[in-house]
Amino acid sequence: MKKKIFAWVLTVVMIAAMFAGCGSTGNNTGSTNTGSTGTTNTAGTTDTGTTDTGTTDTGSGNTASDKYSEEKPYHLTFAYIEFYQQDEAARQAVQDALNEYMIPTYHIEVEFLPLQYADYQTTIQLMLSGGDALDVMPIFYPYASSWISMGGVYDMNEFMSSADGQAIIAELGNDNAYVGQMNGVLYGFPANKESVELGGLCMRADICDALGITEDYGLEANKDEYDGTYYDWSVAADIFQRVLDAYPDMTPLYLSSTSQMARFEFFDVLVDQFGVLDWETDHKSTTVVNEFETDTYLKAVTMLADWYDKGYIYKDAMTDTQGSATVMKAGNTFSYATAIKPGFLVEAQAANGMDLYAMYFGNSEEGGISTTNVSFFNTGIASNSEDPEMAFKFVSALYSDATVMNLWQNGIEGVNYQVLDDGTAYFVDGQDSSNYTYHQNTGWFMGNQFISYVWNDGTKTADYWEKLSAHNNWAVTSGAFGFMWDSSEYSTQITALNNALETYRAALETGAIGSANVTDTLKKLNDALYAAGLQDVMDAKQAQLDEWLATQQ
C-alpha cells in the first residue's frame, strides 16, 4: 500500500517536472515590450535595399479607379489590432455595412483582418515575407526600420500630391503627416491623438481630502485639463511625506518595472534611447548625447533613490508588472505617476474604481513632443498590396471620411451605437461596456479619430477633440521632430545595448538601488553601454540627424 502511494506521488512529481519545462512556453509570449519608451528593436535583416516603388503610373486617381467598378471592386485586406475582444458576428455585420458604403463610393471591398497585440508583429512579418494578401496595416514605430529594409513597406510619398494625400495633410497638418518618414520613405501616418507625455500624479481623492492636500493645491474633482499650473516634483515629496506620516502602512507612490522616466524628465529618445537629445537643458538641441551621462538623468534617478530610501516608492517596484489599476484597487497605494490629458480622470476612475485627483508635475515650462510621441502606431501600406493606389485611397478615407472611421470604430449606428442629443456617441440602450458586441475603442491607434464621434463615457463633451488638440498645442516640439533614425544596420548593437540597459534600468528608475549607490550603478551602466557599442550607434545617429537637418532647411 505504502509503495503504491509512493509510486503515485512519484508520478505526480514526474508530470510536474515535465511541465516545469514544457508548460512555461505556453504563457510567456506577451513579453514584447508594451511600455511607451522601452523600445526593443527586433533584429531585422541587415541589407539596406530601398523599398521597391511598384506601379508605374504616377497617380492621378482616375486611372486606378477606372480599373474597378461597383460590380468589380478592389478587394482590400485591412489589418489592425483588436485590443478589445469583439463579437465575430457583429464584426462581420460591420464589415458588410462598411462595404455597402465603400463599394459604391470608392470601388473598394474591405476585408477586416483583426490581429492580437500579442502576435501582431510575428503575423505581419510573416505575411510580408510570405507575400500574402495584405494592403493596409499598422506599423509600430520600433518595427519600421526593419520592415522597410526587408522591403515590406510601400513608400507613400508618390501619392502625397494627389487629392487623397492632400486630404490627409489637411487633417493631420503638414508636420504630423510627414512624421512617419525614414530615409525619405513615407511609411505611415500617425493616429490623431494626445501626444504629450508630461508627467503627473494620479492620487486617491479620499486621502487628499482627509489630509488637506485638496485645499493646499486647489485640487478639484474631474479637473484634468492643463491650465498652466504645474508643480515641481519636490512638492510631490512633501505630499508623500504627509501621507506616510498619517498612514504608515500605505505606499505613497506606485512605480512598476516598466520605464516611467518620461513622467519625470523628458528626453527626445530618438526611437531607442541610445543617444538622445537632452531636451530639458536645451529645447532646440540637436546634439546626440548619452542619456545616462546627462545631469538631467542623474538628477532624476537621485531624486527617485532618495524617495525610495524614505519609503515613498512601492517596495517591489523594481520587479513589479501588475499595473496601477491592480495595486490601486487593492487599497494600500496612494498614487501613481502617469501622463495626464483631458478626459484622463474619468477613464482612470473607472479603471481604478475610486475617486481620484490629477496634478501636473514637471520641472520644465512645457511638455515636449518628439517624433515617437506622435508616431506611435502608423497606418501604412504593405508592399504586398496588389494596387497600392487603391490602398492609399482607403488610408486617406480613414483620415478624412468620418463615415468610414465611425463604422470601423463604433460600428453601425442604431445597432452598435447611438448619437446622443449633444453630438456624442454611446452604446445603444441596453448595452454598456460589459455586454457590447462591437466597439473598437482604438481611435488613438490608427486613423483619424478626431473626425469620428466623441465617445461619451460620462464627462466627455462633443468638443473633446478640440480639447485634445489644444492639449497638444501647448507643448514644444523637439529640434529633431520628424526625424526617424534608421537602425537597421545596427540591430546587433541595439540588442546588446538593450540587454546592458535592462540589467540596470529598473533598479535605477524605480530608485530601488538607494541613494548611496546611484553614481556607482550609473558608472557600471555606462561602462556596459559603451562596451556594447554605444559610441558607434550615437555617431551613426548624429550623422543621420545632421543629414536630415540639412534637408529640412
Binding site: V9, V13, Y84, L113, A350
Partner: protein, 295 residues
C-alpha cells in the same frame, strides 16, 4: 511481505524523495490556491497557501469568455490525439529500417535524419513552404508543421529497437520466413511498446503545449485556436491592458482579475495532461533505457 525495521538508507532515501516531491508539488498547490484567491487579497498580501478570501472570479471570467474555451479544448484534444498517433506511427516506421543492421545506405539515411536536428530552414522559409501547401487557416496548420516527426524521437526508438530487442529474435523470424512488415507488426511494435508509449507521451505533450503553429499559420480563422493559443492570447492581452502607459484603458478591461486569471489559466491548461498521464505511467516507468525482453 514481512515488516522490516527501516534501514538508515531507507529513511534517508525517503526524506530526500519527500523533499524533492515537495519542491515540485508545492508550486502547483500554490498555483491552484492563488487562482482561487480574491484578486485584491492577492495583490495586498501576495501568494499564500491558505488565502484569506476565496474567489472563483478568475474561473468565472474564463468560462464567461463563451463557448470559445470548449471549442478550443476540442481542437486541442483532437489535434493531440491524432497528432500523437501519426507521430508515433511515422517515427516507428522510420526507425525500424534504420535499426536493421545490413540495410544498404543506412549511414546516409541516419545522417539525413540526424542533420535535421542541427539545421532547419528557419521560420520564414518554413512559412512560405507550408503556406504554399495550403495549410493556412485550416486544421492542418495545428497538425502538420514542425510537430509531425522529430529526429530525436526517431533516434531514441531506433536505439531501442536495436539494443533492447535481441538480434536473435529478428533472425528467428527471418528464418521462419516472416516478411519485414510481418516482423515490424508482430515483433517490433509489441516489444517496442515501452519506448513507443514514452515517445508518444513526449509527442502528445508537444502537441498539447504548442501554440506557435497557430501563431504563424492561423490568422483569419480564430475558431481553430487551441487552448494554449486562447490562453496565450488572453494573458498577453491582459498584460498589455494592465501595463499600458497609454491610459486608453476602458473600465471593462481594467476590471479583469489579472494575476488570478493568469494562475487559473495555467491551471486549466495543465489539468487534462495531469489526469491522463498516470495511465501511461506503467510504460513510462519501464523507461527509455531500462526495458528489455525477458525469457
Amino acid at each position: 511481505m514481512k515488516e522490516k525495521p527501516f534501514s538508515r538508507y531507507q529513511i534517508l532515501a525517503n526524506v530526500v524523495m519527500i523533499l524533492m516531491t515537495l519542491v515540485v508539488v508545492l508550486p502547483f498547490l500554490l498555483l491552484l490556491m492563488s487562482s482561487l484567491t480574491d484578486e485584491n487579497i492577492l495583490v495586498a498580501n501576495g501568494y499564500s497557501f491558505l488565502p484569506e478570501k476565496f474567489s472563483l472570479a478568475s474561473y468565472q471570467y474564463i468560462i464567461q469568455s463563451g463557448d470559445k474555451i470548449a471549442k478550443a479544448y476540442l481542437i486541442s484534444i483532437l489535434v493531440t490525439l491524432i497528432g500523437t498517433v501519426i507521430h508515433v506511427l511515422l517515427a516507428a516506421l522510420m526507425s525500424y529500417p534504420l535499426a536493421v543492421r545490413n540495410l544498404p545506405g543506412r549511414k546516409i539515411m541516419m545522417f539525413y535524419v540526424f542533420f535535421t536536428m542541427l539545421f532547419n530552414g528557419g521560420i520564414v522559409p518554413s512559412y512560405i513552404m507550408w503556406s504554399s501547401f495550403g495549410v493556412k487557416d485550416t486544421i492542418w496548420a495545428q497538425l502538420l508543421p514542425v510537430l509531425l516527426l522529430n529526429a530525436w524521437n526517431v533516434m531514441m526508438i531506433r536505439t531501442y529497437f536495436q539494443t533492447s530487442i535481441p538480434e536473435s529474435l529478428y533472425e528467428a523470424a527471418r528464418i521462419d520466413g516472416a516478411s519485414e512488415y510481418k516482423i515490424f507488426s508482430v515483433i517490433v511494435l509489441p516489444l517496442g511498446k515501452p519506448i513507443l508509449v514514452t515517445m508518444g507521451t513526449f509527442a502528445g505533450l508537444t502537441y498539447w503545449n504548442d501554440w506557435t503553429n497557430a501563431l504563424y499559420y492561423i490568422v483569419r480563422n480564430k475558431n481553430l485556436y487551441n487552448v494554449q493559443n486562447l490562453l496565450n492570447q488572453m494573458v498577453s492581452n491582459i498584460q498589455y491592458l494592465t501595463q499600458s502607459t497609454n491610459s486608453n484603458v476602458s473600465s471593462a478591461a481594467a476590471s479583469i482579475p489579472a494575476t488570478g486569471i493568469q494562475m487559473a489559466i495555467a491551471f486549466v491548461a495543465i489539468l487534462p495532461i495531469m489526469m491522463i498521464f498516470p495511465m501511461f505511467q506503467k510504460y513510462y516507468a519501464k523507461g527509455i533505457t531500462l526495458g528489455s525482453v525477458k525469457g
